[in-house]
């Protein structure tokens, strides 16, 4: 099978859907001839023209509001916010409008839009370009929250997101854009709310999100050498969350660790950890559900500091070992 990057996989999903459905189109800043800040939309304006690849002014409020309005009227816009950090300017439209509209109107409308949010740290962009904000979105009723960790999932989930009739917040880890994997060109979709067991194991369950899935898999290999068998679960979508798969795993391994890039304090990992703790898995736990998230600091610029601010492979290894050796 072809290997393509995470960025190309996302593009391919958009391109394929746009070929099929006239109502699907993309809008955002510099997504035209520039191809977007991360090149994800490269070449799309050449194929679809400026009407369906709408280069916008630098106006996060207007373009997010526009996405809401155009979606209410039956289109399926995909909005790129250049860095997830800038979504703050669009929060009213996403949270007060898109997420609540259907409910407030008693079911009388729907807002099928996808908001693409390049997110996370690791590229030296400093504090205003490196945040992980999925916890905010997952806290908001009415939003779907997706966080693919690899090219295959990215394509399949993007297709699902485009077909979904709700506002879908699509977190793309910037550090993953250039990672490659096998991705079929043919049509496939990945359902919302279905976690994937990325690696089976017997001693401890790690629930990891986004780029942490990859780091955890690396850590698991490392840990294997010392005879620790780690099960790695990627929820893939935070809302809806496939808590069942997670609980089943923990009942088997009797230990659970949640690893996430966002600031640990108040991150969505706390929700996952709490759900495990509250569940029937509690009686199977040999020790507390643990979390490993980002340090509670703005992301620093210096790469060494930046790395230290979020979990790295070694940190995961260390954390798991400390849990195994208790």
């Amino acid at each position: 099978m072809r290997e393509i990057t995470y960025a190309s996989a996302i593009k391919e999903a958009m391109v394929q859907e746009m070929r099929i459905d006239k109502d699907v189109f993309i809008l955002g800043e510099d997504i035209g001839i520039y191809g977007g800040s991360f090149g994800v939309t490269n070449g799309m304006i050449e194929e679809f023209g400026p009407e369906r690849v709408r280069n916008t002014p630098i106006s996060e409020s207007a373009i997010s509001g526009c996405a809401v309005g155009v979606a209410m009227m039956g289109m399926r816009p995909i909005l790129e916010i250049q860095f997830s950090d800038f979504v703050m300017i669009a929060m009213d439209n996403i949270v007060n409008q898109a997420a609540k509209m259907r409910y407030m109107f008693g079911g009388k409308t729907q807002v099928p839009m996808v908001v693409r949010l390049p997110s996370g740290s690791g590229l030296g962009f400093a504090a205003q370009h490196s945040q992980s904000l999925e916890a905010w979105m997952a806290h908001v009723p009415g939003l779907i929250v997706v966080q693919p960790s690899n090219p295959y999932d990215a394509k399949g989930l993007m297709k699902t997101a485009i077909h979904n009739n709700n506002p879908v917040i699509f977190f793309e880890q910037k550090g993953l854009y250039n990672t490659k994997a096998d991705v079929p060109e043919e049509e496939y979709k990945i359902p919302l709310g279905v976690a994937e067991v990325k690696k089976e194991g017997t001693d401890l369950t790690v629930v990891a999100t986004g780029i942490m899935v990859n780091r955890t898999l690396e850590a698991a290999e490392e840990l294997e050498k010392d005879g620790n068998s780690i099960e790695v679960i990627d929820p893939r979508t935070l809302v809806p969350l496939d808590i069942k798969t997670i609980i089943e795993s923990v009942k088997k391994t009797n230990r659970a660790l949640v690893v996430y890039e966002a600031v640990e304090r108040g991150g969505y990992g706390a929700e996952i950890a709490s759900l495990i703790g509250e569940s029937e898995a509690f009686d199977f736990l040999d020790e507390p559900v643990s979390r490993l998230g980002g340090i509670a600091t703005p992301i620093p610029y210096n790469p060494k500091l930046e790395k230290a601010a979020v979990p790295q492979v070694e940190d995961i290894v260390k954390k798991v070992k400390s849990m195994m050796n208790k």
């Binding site: 309005g69 209410m72 009388k108 709700n166």
Partner: protein, 327 residues
């Protein structure tokens, strides 16, 4: 015939409909006010009494397929756009038969069937959503235009700026309709901007801007029609500033310390949009006193019916608490 009111834009029938709509809005809101005072309405409500001509005049220029976005002060817009008052009143009372099943209330009434894309409790939010709807019209070639209602206070939100600019550079079929009632909640627009007329701001986006008498329903209809025509012909958006006045306080409790009783009296006495329009129609023999009394009676009955319907309607069942969140 109303040729000397203005060039013949509307039939007698239509003119009488405008008067009826204005009257319906006023009486509807008087009923809402009473219900609120009786403790039957949760939360808050924002009355547009005194501003009926902007809602009715603007919507007179729209077809059923055209859309509006509205505000926290949206009852008038809804009624003028053709939204029915029974389910509106029921919604305001939070009843299951309301437009939003009781989930939205006064600030979220929507009726997509008649192009009412909804009231909105976030100041200036409709300004962002409207251009989106207009973009859909353009991309799907559906021919409808979108009129966004908003207040003077809303023009200081960044959303106003971004929306007008976007609509302008994309030539979207939008009419930005500002109801300048001189105040935000309490802030006098004179103190909140440094230009004489809000309509001057249109220049910043290269679109036409105009200030009109918002208490003259014919003037409102005429200038809105021009903007609608422009929009429908692919000539892009227009900013209309309609000067008007809200007779009541901002919302549930408002001592109105920020304005004088004299100012209020002046507007109520000499610039009542309904009284003056009625006068005109009488003068022009479009209407008779008898016909007006008849009309009033009919509307009073309609309001009584709406209140009765709303009051007698059941509360929503708890079962719907978690429905309508996701499609």
């Amino acid at each position: 015939m109303v040729n000397n009111i203005q060039e013949r834009l509307y039939t007698d029938q239509q003119l009488k409909k405008m008067l009826a709509d204005m009257l319906l809005i006023r009486k509807f809101e008087e009923a809402v006010e009473k219900l609120y005072q009786e403790g039957k309405i949760p939360g808050t409500m924002h009355l547009c009494i005194g501003q009926e001509a902007t809602a009715v005049g603007a919507c007179a220029a729209l077809t059923n397929e055209d859309k509006i976005t509205s505000t926290h002060r949206g009852h008038g817009h809804s009624i003028a756009k053709g939204t029915e008052i029974k389910p509106m009143m029921a919604e305001i009372l939070g009843k299951a038969t309301g437009y939003c099943k009781g989930k939205g209330g006064s600030m979220h009434i929507a009726d997509l069937n008649v192009g009412n894309l909804g009231a909105n409790a976030i100041v200036a939010a409709g300004l962002s959503i409207g251009p989106g709807a207009a973009l859909a019209s353009k991309m799907k070639n559906e021919g409808y235009v979108v009129l966004c209602f908003f207040g003077d206070g809303a023009t200081n939100e960044g959303a106003f700026h971004e929306a007008l600019n976007l609509a302008s550079v994309w030539d979207l079929p939008v009419i930005f309709f500002c109801e300048n009632n001189l105040y935000g909640m309490s802030g006098s627009i004179k103190e909140m901007i440094n230009v004489e007329h809000i309509s001057e701001r249109a220049k910043a986006y290269g679109i036409p801007g105009i200030t009109i008498n918002g208490n003259d329903v014919m003037e409102v209809a005429r200038f809105t029609q021009e903007a609608v025509d422009r929009a429908r012909n692919g000539k892009g958006p227009t900013l209309i500033e309609a000067e008007t006045y809200r007779w009541r306080g901002h919302s549930r409790s408002d001592a109105r310390k920020y304005r004088s009783r004299e100012e209020e009296k002046e507007w109520r006495k000499s610039r009542d949009p309904i009284a003056s329009f009625k006068e005109k129609l009488l003068e022009e023999n479009v209407l008779t006193e008898d016909a007006f009394l008849e009309l009033e009676k009919r509307i009073d009955a309609e309001i009584i019916g709406a209140v009765k319907f709303a009051e007698e309607s059941p509360e929503p069942s708890l079962d719907i608490l978690e429905t309508d969140i996701y499609a």
